[in-house]
Amino acid sequence: MRNPLSQVVQEIKPSGIRKFFDIVSEMKDAISLGVGEPDFDTPWHVREEGIYSLEKGRTFYTSNAGLKELRVEIANYINRRFQISYNADKEILITVGGSEAIDLAVRALVNPGEEVLIPMPSFVSYLPCVQLAYGIPVIIELKEENEFRLTKKELLEHITDKTKLLVLPFPNNPTGAIMPRRELEEIAEVCVEKDIFVVSDEIYAELSYYGERHVSIAEMPGMKERTILINGFSKAYAMTGWRLGYVCAPEIILSQMLKIHQFAIMCAPTTSQYAAVEAIRNGDRDVAEMTQSYNQRRRFLLNEFREMGLECFEPYGAFYVFPNIKKYGMTSEEFAEKLLEEEKVAVVPGTAFGDCGEGYVRISYAYSLERLKLALNRIKSFVERHRGDI
């Protein structure tokens, strides 16, 4: 029998998280700080709206682009929040989570052999999406000394005449880094000057604890026409399982993304779309409350790290901290495995988010303070015990 498999798929590395997941799942009393989703339940009024839509028998397909009502609400939200106006009919598409939107954007924009800039450490799916689209991923290794922000210099160094697209993953998973307005303006200038398009993954936009609220690159002069803005309901409204994201982009790009979406997906889940209308209309208070909790936990963790001497730059976004573990003389994977073995605390090795995550681990604070306290006590004994190893 000949090889049944596509070469490009075979070349994709399986997710680095998998192996670790298997070990943790089998350990009964482990405390996991390894999840990438909120610990809050979807607010009840949102769940209730989903239930109501089922009771009313709203169980059919929606239009390919998604419920008009929802697209209008998204346009309003983007407008009041970022002062960018999108046409709800032609420039907004509801997707199955932010993940689908990433895939659509890359496939709609990249020709075989064109280069896509991916800052790393970052979310695990940018790289395989580019590979599947026969693009050439070009990795920009972000640096702790820059607080894992993308600098103009780093961007310029990686641009060639084949560069088509920049993935901009901020607020960032796994580092928690954000891009403040000033730095973002510099990136935008380069993109305009070098004629580069941007896929801006802003799924954590609402979870930002910096002085100013999250800024979108699409707000910058000359950027709306070259930005594919991705957002969704998973993180802000604690709706991961509903699988609902969206993308805002110029019509010329969105219409092509819509084609892939309509043939591959048809439409996003109808129940989720009805629930999302309620979330975006009446969910501001929930978002504010959850953000406040995350921010408190973030401060708590950073303070604990300081006290136990675990180095960590201050992250201002998402719900992750990314401490530097280099001084313990272990790789990220060794650190994570030992921590799990010895103290039964699960964190994710930084290398799961790119080779340049070596020397770091991702700790999620999508957990109650009580749970974090318990876990942090164990981490404290661990780092104190291994300080002598060096």
């Binding site: 998280i17 997941f21 799942s25 390894g34 708590f300």
Partner: protein, 166 residues
């Protein structure tokens, strides 16, 4: 009326759910100094914004029997004294947990906690109904508490998320 600063609002938000938290931890969570937090707490205590640090106890999980009743009370307000004087006569009883002046079909709502039903009935017939201004009462007994002070008492939540996700 006391104007609440941003820090005070944040403090109240935390201690409303967790009054045992200490000043140090509060200051860490809120990104303020311990002195700022301690001062704000002392001032709010003085101003009677913070009226106590109570504990939410679910007696149903103990062998200790408690009877909770809600009593609607209709009264005839006294000239020159209004409702406040009557309320005072009611809330001074130590078994009365709360007294609210209500809009609608009756005037006061009393939350009462007693050891036995007989004690409740004794309170209503001997203490409450005999107050001159009281025209009528309706007593409702609590059968089960599902949620109290914003806290669900009846369910044990488990974390159903997968242990590691990207």
């Amino acid at each position: 009326m006391v104007e609440l600063t941003e820090l005070r609002k944040l403090i109240l938000g935390v201690i409303e759910k967790n009054s045992r938290i200490d000043v140090h931890e509060l200051s860490v969570l809120l990104g303020a100094t311990e002195i700022e937090v301690a001062n704000a707490l002392t001032e709010m205590e003085k101003e009677k914004v913070i009226c106590g640090y109570h504990t939410l106890i679910n007696w149903e999980n103990t062998s200790d029997e408690r009877v909770n009743a809600m009593i609607e009370v209709q009264v005839t307000p006294q000239r020159g004294e209004g409702f406040d004087r009557i309320a005072e006569r009611i809330y001074n009883f130590s078994e009365v947990n709360a007294v609210y002046l209500m809009s609608g079909g009756y005037d006061f709502l009393i939350l009462l906690e007693e050891k036995t039903m007989r004690a409740v009935s004794h309170f209503v017939s001997e203490k409450l109904s005999t107050i001159e201004a009281v025209r009528g009462t309706a007593t409702h007994f609590v059968l089960k508490k599902y949620k109290d002070h914003g806290t669900v008492l009846t369910e044990n939540k488990t974390d159903e998320r997968m242990v590691i996700t990207p």
